[in-house]
């Protein structure tokens, strides 16, 4: 009988499958029907409470039973069971017997009879049946009801379709799984081989150059003629990969000069900006060529070569050839200084090394090695591997507050609004800082742009060769950071784009041995890497953020490993004093912690709470002093999910760990958490009590103030709530004109009266006095 049973179960599986199929299709045709059916089913349990509707619902249930069953009778061994013998066996083993539902409706039996062969193609047949059936029930229902319900009931459509898909996929997975595992184990060795060979290839190239730079270049040198053809602004890429020896030999004499001319003017312009980073006024092409002439005449001709190589890929080789007559020993002598690791160590300040340390990718490292060791060889760098940033938009300066004032308060009032702009401050870092601290971030972005333009990386300069300095990268960092702070993520992404993954060779000090002799590491500030990694998550691509953060984490961990092994940060054999090593470990640990922080934040944004909580836990390891705050934060995460019990547990842990803070702070934190806990339990009165208690200890606590006001609203005390918030804003506008506070305030104004506009405008005036151009006017809801 077992076999029979199994068969019938499988039959039923199939029937259900079809039913689901039908429901799916049905949705397409009669959206309302399925919803109503499902709805009644779900609500039914509750309905008993309200007696009036009981009869009605019961009636409905009778009619709607079919759809109830449909949504109600799933199996695990899904759909295709009929054809899949192994699944049947499983069913047998489980001793699953006849699975017939009690509610054997006419409909259903029809399906069963249809069901001998389960193919999706069959479904259409049945659709009509069930469709009409449901239509009938719909009619009945609509008779009883006011027709109100019918519009806009399609909400559940995607919901209903999905489970079906899931169901279908499961059995296949089960069956496939053994075979896939096998195949994967078999294929393992192969990739290993390729990896090795690839690695060899990659590393062998530069190593070929290492012993002596001459011959390999000859082969690879690009044709001169093509160099000439390329205008300064076009891609050297085009030039580089087309080496034609015949041309090269034939044209040497004639092209040589041309090439070098071109090369000089081209490279030195950027060279100048490298060596004179403080040249604040824009470096014009002519100026550069002028100074270039001076430079070239100066004794250090090799310097030219070096820079040329770094700037454009093609030209250097040609230069190299011109230089080739030089005796090798001479060359060696010239570069001995910069090449010697011990000498460089002396030149390099501890602090610089510690902060700038970064581990480049294999590819980049090879380029850097060849730059450092092979002064006379060509270093072929794809233009793609160079960083050529430029401003992507000219001017985002603007003052939204002023605009709103113009609109609502008239011109007179608007004139009074005075904020600093890029013109009103010193055109320097000092002015920049002034703008930032006065919260005029838009103006600050603008000023950054100007300063960058002075560095030759201004508007429309993107895609043109550029040279980088510590300052230029810092400026970029500030600009991009401000853009992020202003929520202008798109713009930030656009301008970040030329920087690639921040690992291009020209972003390392080693790339400019003459400008930064002996200095090692990356010019890119660590914070800029963080910013770069975090950015995608604000643009809806948190996965990319995680990827970037993970690769940062790997490098940080590697650096820490190096330090532990007695090496320098980048793994080189540099002597570091114990003291410095300690400081470095500390720095890198905190940086690693910062990366973990970002990861946790990113995971939180992705709503992957389990991983986020784990990540925050690991942050605690790096920032033990923040344990109470972090634990509270985790507690709040659980509150957000709705897991009050776990939240409570964390809050209790906080109370244990709170001794890490000073008395007042820990007291506030404990009270705050208790208040939140009461919020989670829907006890606004108690929550309000705790928030008020915090205010008794620390009357200027903005969070407690705001939260207490929010609680009051939920308690039905709108006026009191408003009074509290208004009082808070008036008391210290400098501090409390915060987006979130103002948002709450305007929301309550809207609730209070249909004449909220006046009050909002009053807020606008307050904002106009205190806030800079970075103020987010959306929270005023004046739109």
């Amino acid at each position: 009988s077992n076999a029979k049973d199994a068969k019938s179960t499988s039959d039923e599986d199939d029937s259900r499958d079809i039913v689901q199929q039908k429901t799916q299709e049905e949705i397409l045709f009669h959206e309302e029907t399925i919803d109503l059916g499902g709805d009644e089913f779900e609500s039914e349990g509750n309905e008993t409470v309200s007696e009036d509707s009981n009869n009605f619902v019961d009636k409905l249930n009778e009619q709607m039973m079919e759809s109830v069953i449909i949504s109600d009778s799933p199996n695990n061994s899904e759909d295709d069971t009929g054809e899949l013998g192994c699944l049947q066996e499983i069913v047998d083993q489980m001793e699953a017997k006849d699975n017939q539902k009690t509610q054997t409706e006419v409909d259903k039996e029809e399906f069963l009879s249809n069901e001998s062969e389960t193919e999706h193609e069959e479904t259409p047949k049945d659709i009509s049946e069930i469709g009409t059936d449901d239509q009938a029930s719909l009619k009945e229902e609509s008779l009883q009801e006011a027709a109100k319900e019918e519009p806009k009931l399609g909400n559940n459509v995607p919901v209903d379709t999905k489970p079906n898909n899931i169901d279908e996929s499961t059995p296949e997975d089960q069956i496939l799984s053994p075979s896939t595992t096998k195949s994967s184990s078999e294929s393992e060795p192969i990739p290993v081989c390729t990896i090795f060979s690839q690695a060899n290839n990659a590393s062998s190239q530069p190593q070929l150059f290492l012993p002596d730079g001459f011959e390999p270049q000859m082969v690879k040198s690009p044709s001169f003629s093509s160099i000439i053809e390329t205008p300064v602004k076009s891609n050297p890429q085009v030039v580089q990969p087309s080496p034609s020896l015949s041309k090269f030999f034939g044209d040497t004499a004639s092209t040589n000069t041309l090439a070098s001319d071109f090369f000089d003017s081209f490279t030195t312009s950027s060279f100048i900006s490298v060596s004179n980073p403080n040249a604040s006024s824009s470096v014009s092409e002519q100026m550069s060529s002028l100074s270039n002439g001076g430079d070239s005449s100066s004794s250090n001709s090799t310097l030219h070569v070096q820079n040329g190589r770094s700037e454009a890929d093609g030209p250097p080789s040609s230069l190299e050839i011109t230089q080739s007559p030089k005796p090798f020993s001479q060359i060696q002598a010239v570069f001995a200084g910069s090449d010697d690791p011990f000498a460089t160590a002396l030149n390099m300040s501890e602090l610089d090394r510690r902060n700038d340390a970064w581990i480049p990718s294999e590819e980049t490292r090879n380029v850097l090695i060849s730059v450092a060791t092979q002064q006379y060889s060509t270093v072929f760098i794809d233009k793609e591997n160079l960083t050529m940033p430029g401003l992507k938009f000219d001017n985002i300066q603007g003052d939204a507050v002023k605009d709103l004032m113009l609109r609502f308060l008239g011109e007179q009032a608007a004139v009074k609004r005075q904020v600093l702009n890029a013109n009103s401050v010193e055109q320097s870092f000092v002015g920049l800082k002034q703008l930032i601290s006065s919260k005029n971030w838009r103006a600050a972005v603008d000023l950054c742009g100007r300063l960058l333009t002075a560095h030759g990386q201004g508007y429309k300069k993107s895609g043109l060769p550029a040279s980088h300095t510590t300052d230029s990268l810092q400026l970029w960092f500030v600009r991009l950071a401000l853009l992020v702070k202003l929520n202008l993520f798109q713009n930030a992404e656009m301008e970040f784009e030329p920087f690639g993954n921040l690992d291009q060779p020209d972003l390392y000090y080693e790339y400019y041995p003459n400008v930064y002799p002996g200095r090692k590491g990356s010019m890119v500030p660590f914070s800029m890497r963080i910013l770069h990694a975090e950015l995608p998550q604000y643009l809806g691509n948190p996965q990319e953020s995680l990827d970037r953060l993970h690769s940062m984490k790997i490098i940080c961990t590697k650096i820490l490993e190096h330090l532990e092994q007695g090496l320098a940060e980048d793994g080189s054999m540099t002597n570091i004093t114990q003291e410095n090593r300690q400081a470095s470990v500390q720095l890198w640990r905190s940086r690693l912690g910062r990366v973990m922080y970002s990861m946790a934040n990113c995971l939180l944004m992705m709503k992957d709470y389990v991983l986020a909580v784990d990540a925050y836990h690991s942050v605690i390891k790096y920032y033990p002093q923040q344990e109470p705050q972090l634990l509270s934060g985790i507690g709040r995460i659980f509150l957000q999910i709705g897991d009050i019990k776990t939240a409570e547990k964390y809050f209790q842990d906080v109370e244990k760990a709170a001794h890490k803070l000073d008395g007042l702070q820990s007291q506030i934190m404990v009270l705050m958490n208790r208040a939140f806990l009461h919020l989670g339990q829907n006890n606004f009165a108690e929550a309000h009590r705790f928030f008020t208690e915090i205010l008794r200890i620390d009357s200027s606590n903005a969070v407690a103030n705001n939260n207490a006001a929010v609680c009051l609203l939920y308690l039905g005390k709108l006026k009191d709530s408003l009074r509290q918030l208004e009082g808070m804003v008036q008391q210290d506008p400098q501090h409390y004109l915060h987006e979130s506070v103002l948002f709450n305030l305007t929301t309550m104004y809207e609730l209070e009266s249909s004449r909220s506009m006046q009050k909002k405008q009053a807020l606008l005036e307050a904002v106009a006095i205190k806030e800079g151009d970075s103020f987010n006017t959306q929270c005023l809801k004046l739109g």
């Binding site: 919803d35 109503l36 709805d39 489970p163 950071a481 920032y623 803070l661 987006e739």
Partner: protein
């Protein structure tokens, strides 16, 4: 009128820099000054500042609909005998939600009458909150106005069940519960309330070292579109098991009681309808094995106990 969903926590976007960077500690200072950050851990994204709901949001069956009703006197006249009535009109019924039906004697200019109403939503589909206000002006004129607020109640969960009938009269119930909302859902309780004929054992925890551990692991919540499977074992109570005839045909097994929580403890509760199953039919006479040895020696007699039931 404003729907009072739970407030949300303000999240800020941390932008940090290091001391040696150009802005110095400027960015960090800015974050410290920002009242919405967590003091001492400014990089923590999730702040403590509560913000009011920004839109109506979604409301799901089984959740509690809370709303703030405020009647504000915008005029400069005192009005008298104000009566505020809030009704909720669903597809099947009309409920009165006002806490008090007594009229307020008078309302001065710029004052308001506040009421917070709560209602556990028990129906799916269109709901209309009808707020009616009647009052008397200074001139003695009777005034009356109504406002309608329409919203949709959606289905939060998809529940599917399946029965497995064991040879031993036990019934296993497998329930798939899917979160079809758009927010994560913490399942506080999913229990089976058996009908009077059955005892139920939940099979959703694994005992390890004396501590029962949920089969769902550390993940206590359901992400949108996630499905969980719950398993229950139902045994007929002794008195019914004896009478085999009773558990035959259609029987009521019980119903699932589901309690969940979302943002900041917003609670929802649903029950399924009575789950019914068709008990396997055994015809008139049923033969079942009571005992049978699992190994026997060759050429040795062994005992089997059979039970024949007249159904």
């Amino acid at each position: 009128v404003m729907r009072l969903t739970k407030p949300t926590l303000f999240t800020n976007i941390p932008v940090t820099c290091e001391e040696r960077d150009l802005p110095g500690n400027l960015f960090n200072q800015l974050m410290k000054d920002d009242p919405s950050t967590v003091k001492g851990a400014e990089t923590l994204m999730l702040g403590e500042m509560l913000t009011l709901p920004q839109n109506f949001g979604n409301i799901f069956l089984g959740e509690t609909f809370s709303s703030y009703i405020s009647v504000h006197n915008d005029s400069n006249q005192v009005v008298k005998d104000i009566l505020v009535k809030a009704d909720l009109q669903t597809s099947s019924q009309r409920l009165n939600l006002s806490a008090s039906s007594a009229a307020v004697a008078e309302l001065k200019p710029d004052c308001c009458i506040d009421d917070v109403i709560h209602h556990e939503v028990k129906e799916i589909g269109t709901h209309i909150l009808v707020c009616a206000v009647s009052y008397t002006t200074q001139t003695g004129e009777k005034m009356y106005f109504r406002k309608f607020f329409k919203f949709q109640v959606l289905k939060p969960l998809d529940v599917k069940t399946k029965f497995y009938n064991a040879e031993t009269d036990e019934v296993f119930l497998e329930a798939q519960i899917q979160n079809i909302t758009t927010s994560p859902m913490f399942m506080e309780k999913v229990s089976l309330e058996p009908s009077m004929m059955y005892n139920v054992a939940e099979l959703n925890t694994v005992d390890t070292a004396g501590e029962s551990e949920s089969t769902f692991g550390a993940r206590t919540y359901l992400q949108p579109m996630d499905t969980r499977q719950y398993l229950y074992c139902l045994k007929p109570k002794q008195e019914f098991a004896e009478k085999a005839g009773v558990i035959k045909g259609v029987t009521v097994i019980g119903k699932l009681d589901i309690v969940w929580k979302t943002n900041l403890g917003e609670r929802g509760r649903l029950q399924t309808s009575q789950l019914q199953r068709m008990a396997p039919g055994y015809g008139d006479v049923r033969l079942s094995l009571e005992t049978i040895p699992d190994t026997v020696n060759l050429e040795e007699p062994f005992d089997i106990t059979c039970k024949i039931t007249n159904c």
